[in-house]
């Protein structure tokens, strides 16, 4: 169980997050949506321990994650909104380096990299230099990096941005696969796509979760309409 409790965050004296709370169960995929500037990326960075919150707790399996960040980061996969990779490396070398730096034992690195590549559908890109990859391929490599050590929580920030339709569908199937072993929190503006494979929508507005809209078991069109309404209300 992954729980975010009363997170608050201030940036340049402006309250970006006031009181954000939600729970993500294992195997669940949660979409955090909101208008531009609502604080989605900030929330993801706080959850990824990149920004320390002003107050609030992040509980992973009931334990305070932020007070022991090294242990928490071992259970965490994070992918930023723009994949920042080492352009001089080949995909395989990059993933092996990332697995090693994340603390994976040497004899398991190759297996981990193979699994992640398989899930992210990039086995044929393994010997390609990263600088030769397209934006979509780079996102897949970044996702493979995020899921390398089979994290319990996967944070995907604006994952679908800039992807074409085919790639977005492929991304959906990848996330669904990953959700088998991790709770996934994903942010973005692509509600129609997200509605296909997320279980809940959390609408972030005014620094708080203003609405929680379940999508699992709901009519697809209704879900989209409700999310749109919630976002419109946010405006």
């Amino acid at each position: 169980m992954y729980e975010v409790r009363n997170i608050a965050f201030t940036y340049s004296r402006r309250k970006i997050l006031r009181d954000v709370s939600f729970v993500v169960s294992p195997g669940e995929t949660v979409a955090v949506v909101g208008n531009n500037g609502a604080g989605k990326t900030t929330l993801m960075k706080v959850l990824a321990t990149l920004y320390p919150p002003d107050s609030g707790l992040v509980l992973s399996d009931g334990q305070d994650a932020l007070s022991n960040p090294l242990k928490y980061r071992r259970q965490l996969g994070y992918m930023g909104e723009t994949p920042a990779l080492y352009e001089d490396m080949k995909v395989k070398a990059y993933l092996e380096y990332r697995a090693a730096i994340k603390g994976e034992v040497e004899k398991r690195i190759r297996r981990r990299v193979g699994e992640a590549a398989e899930i992210c559908q990039i086995p044929d890109l393994m010997s390609t230099p990263i600088r030769h990859l397209s934006a979509g391929q780079k996102k897949r490599v970044a996702l493979a990096d995020a899921i390398l050590l089979r994290p319990r929580v996967l944070l995907l920030d604006d994952f679908l941005a800039g992807l074409d339709r085919t790639m977005r569908e492929a991304a959906g199937s990848i996330v669904t696969t990953v959700a088998a072993f991790a709770g996934v929190i994903i942010t973005g503006h692509e509600i129609a796509d997200l509605a296909k494979w997320t279980t809940r929508f959390l609408v972030l507005s005014g620094g708080v979760i203003s609405s929680v809209i379940p999508s699992a078991g709901m009519d697809y069109a209704t879900t989209i309409k409700r999310v749109d309404n919630a976002l419109g209300g946010g405006r």
Binding site: S12, L50, D88, I101, E106
Partner: protein, 689 residues
């Protein structure tokens, strides 16, 4: 592998693939090569060990190398946003920083090691004599000293890289902190108060290199470098951590216990060091001074002297020369023990603190900045002027060890000769002082006025007469020589000197009109003389070289042939090409012993300017020895052997063209080849990936 090792490996991988690394290496090799080549030329003939010259020439370039290597390590991660990928991994910022620092340090040390190997390689080819008595281990303390400074510069460079998003800003900041500001301040201080050099000593960054390279490590220095390096890495870590707090104000930053403890320890040790001036000196067994080779003369004096000799160094401990003098005296003491001679006690008397001892030394006539040699009731004082040398010390030891017997040298006057008491660049006061310290008494004589040369004369020196001697004067000289007199003739210019020529011809030496042509030269106007015959005067400098300015040449005069005991022996002492530039003639040496007659000896040298103050100050080491040996031979006291021709002197024996080749090879060809090879490797690596 630990995160530190992984990060270090990755940093090295990145550095290997960067054009900027190739450029940094090439620039470093070119600049350091040129710096060393010019420093070597400046130090030619001096006592500074080659390892020290190498280290001092290289040290100022290390901050630039470190800044160029480290400028990207953090700033690039920040600029591209990859720092987020690093900060959300289960690795401490500290480990990333240390890993990156180690990568940069290894790259810097590789450059340093490669430069040392290339230096030895080029010296081996161009100036093998400079490497005599040197092994790779002679350079080890120098390498250690530079490694110590490199560690700090790399740590500062990594911190600067962590502080900026732009590599250029990081590089400029590093150079400013590690080099421009401290050296600029020092230069400003010296401009403002030049007398301060005596109080403060040399530029601390250079003085530390000098000390360690000489085998003396100050624990305070090592501790300072270690602490400052750790502190710089700590700052680098803090800059990295600060990336999490951008836009949130410093008050949000929580000071962890580790931060507080680290800062407290660093500040406490620094304050302790400041208050108590930690300065425990550890002497390395591999130090250069432990290998110091003293001249045979010094060793003989030490060996033949018994009892105890006390040497008091009457000077301030803050004096810039204090360390060198201290090393020298300790080496002298060790040498005395090694040869089983006199036991040497060393005392340091600081005029500000050791008031009782200082008062006693003042009462015996010693001034501050002098060495006082004492053996029983005998004392001698040696001022620590700019001419302080091992030879002076040996003479001082000789003075108190052996009974005083001064031989008189008469310098002729009245023909425009170089005055031995003149202190200007064209005077000969330096060599006259050398003679004084060697136990001679210098006196002038005017042969036109004095009826005859005094009987106590050990030797007559004619030092570069500009006009000819009269018939009367040469007659007096001839009379003196026929009684077994000794004459040292130093020529100058091409003026007609008929009477001198006639005098010499009678003693087997003919003056030639031809000047050396097409021979080896260093500056273009001088002549390099390196062909020496087997003779007591030249034996100590065989294999070395002297420099003469447009010398007069000599040949054997056959008109002087005489039978039996009067037979004149003629030797060509020194030649350049086919030209003889120094000759010696001796009459009566065969029969001299039997008849108890003193054999006549004449040494003629084709140039007088070679022992002028200006010449000796620059590159006149062998010139000095050649002259002193000539005097010793003529006065019958045996060859002086030349204290400074020993291994402790730096002799490259490079002529002008070889030196140009050496500069060109070490500062252009080698860095150029390295640049091409490294670029090929980087391009191939990039193509492969």
């Amino acid at each position: 592998m630990s995160p530190i090792a992984i990060t270090c490996k990755r940093t090295l991988g990145v550095l290997k693939s960067l054009y900027s690394t190739v450029l940094a290496y090439s620039l470093f090799f070119a600049a350091a090569g040129a710096s060393f080549a010019f420093s070597l030329e400046a130090a030619e003939g001096g006592e500074t060990p080659i390892a020290v010259i190498w280290a001092i020439a290289t040290a100022p370039l290390l901050p630039i190398l470190a800044s160029l290597l480290a400028m990207d390590v953090w700033s690039d991660e920040k600029r591209t946003g990859r720092i987020e990928q690093l900060l959300c991994t289960p690795v401490l910022e500290r480990d990333f920083t240390i890993g990156k620092f180690l990568g940069v340090l290894i790259a810097a040390m590789t450059a340093l090691g490669a430069f040392l190997i290339s230096t030895i390689f080029f010296l081996y080819f161009f100036a093998p004599s400079a490497l005599e008595n040197q092994t790779f281990f002679s350079f080890l303390p120098a390498l250690m000293a530079l490694a110590m400074q490199s560690t700090l510069w790399c740590a500062v460079a990594v911190a600067a890289s962590a502080a900026f998003r732009h590599a250029a800003a990081a590089a400029i900041t590093t150079i400013a902190i590690t080099s421009a500001i401290p050296r600029g301040l020092w230069l400003a201080l010296m401009q403002w108060a030049p007398q301060g050099r005596l109080s403060f000593g040399e530029m601390p960054l250079d003085a530390q290199i000098f000390d360690i390279t000489n085998g003396s490590i100050s624990s305070a220095t090592v501790l300072s470098y270690a602490l400052l390096s750790i502190f710089s890495l700590f700052i680098a870590t803090k800059f990295t951590t600060a990336a999490r707090y951008i836009g949130r104000g410093a008050r949000q930053h929580k000071w962890s216990m580790a931060t507080v403890v680290t800062l407290t320890i660093v500040l406490s040790v620094m304050l302790l060091g400041l208050f108590y001036r930690l300065n425990t000196t550890i002497e390395l067994p591999i130090g250069i001074h432990s290998e110091r080779i003293f001249s045979e003369k010094t060793r003989t004096i030490l060996r033949e002297t018994r009892g105890e000799i006390t040497i008091s160094a009457f000077m301030s401990r803050k004096d810039s020369r204090f360390r060198q003098i201290s090393y020298f005296l300790r080496a002298l003491s060790r040498e005395a023990d090694a040869v089983g001679g006199a036991r040497i006690n060393i005392r340091y008397v600081d005029p500000r603190w050791d008031l009782g001892a200082a008062g006693r030394l003042v009462n015996i006539g010693a001034d501050v900045d002098s060495l006082v040699f004492e053996r029983g009731r005998r004392q001698t004082i040696l001022p620590l002027g700019s001419n302080f040398s091992e030879r002076r010390c040996a003479s001082a030891l000789q003075k108190i060890a052996m009974p005083p017997q001064r031989k008189k040298i008469y310098w002729t006057r009245g023909h425009g000769e170089c005055p031995f008491e003149a202190y200007g660049p064209w005077g000969m006061s330096d060599i006259a002082r050398e003679l004084h310290f060697a136990g001679y008494h210098n006196q002038s004589i005017n042969l036109a006025q004095d009826s005859e040369i005094p009987s106590d004369c050990a030797l007559v020196i004619v030092a570069g007469p500009k006009s000819d001697f009269s018939k009367t004067e040469t007659g007096r000289l001839d009379t003196y020589l026929r009684k077994g007199g000794r004459l040292l003739l130093l020529f100058s210019g091409e003026k007609d000197k008929d009477w001198i020529a006639k005098l010499l011809t009678g003693w087997g030496i003919a003056i030639e009109s031809a000047k050396p042509d097409g021979v080896k030269t260093q500056s273009g106007t001088d002549v390099i003389v390196s062909d020496f015959s087997d003779h007591p005067i030249t034996d100590p400098i065989r294999g070395r070289q002297i420099l003469l300015e447009a010398p007069t040449t000599f040949s054997h005069s056959s008109s002087s042939e005489a039978p039996g005991a009067d037979k004149i022996e003629y030797f060509e002492l020194a030649k350049t090409g086919d030209y003889c530039v120094a000759a010696v003639s001796e009459r009566g040496s065969n029969a001299g012993e039997d008849l108890e007659l003193r054999p006549t000896r004449i040494v003629a040298i084709g140039d007088a300017s070679f022992i002028m103050n200006a010449q000796l100050k620059e590159k006149g080491n062998e010139n000095r020895v050649f002259f002193l040996n000539s005097v010793a031979y003529l006065s019958g006291s045996g060859a002086m052997t030349g204290a400074d021709t020993e291994a402790s002197r730096l002799i490259t024996r490079m002529d002008r063209s070889t030196r140009i080749k050496f500069v060109f090879a070490s500062s252009a060809i080698f860095p150029g080849i390295l640049f091409i090879i490294a670029m090929a490797i980087v391009i191939a690596g990039r193509k492969r990936s």
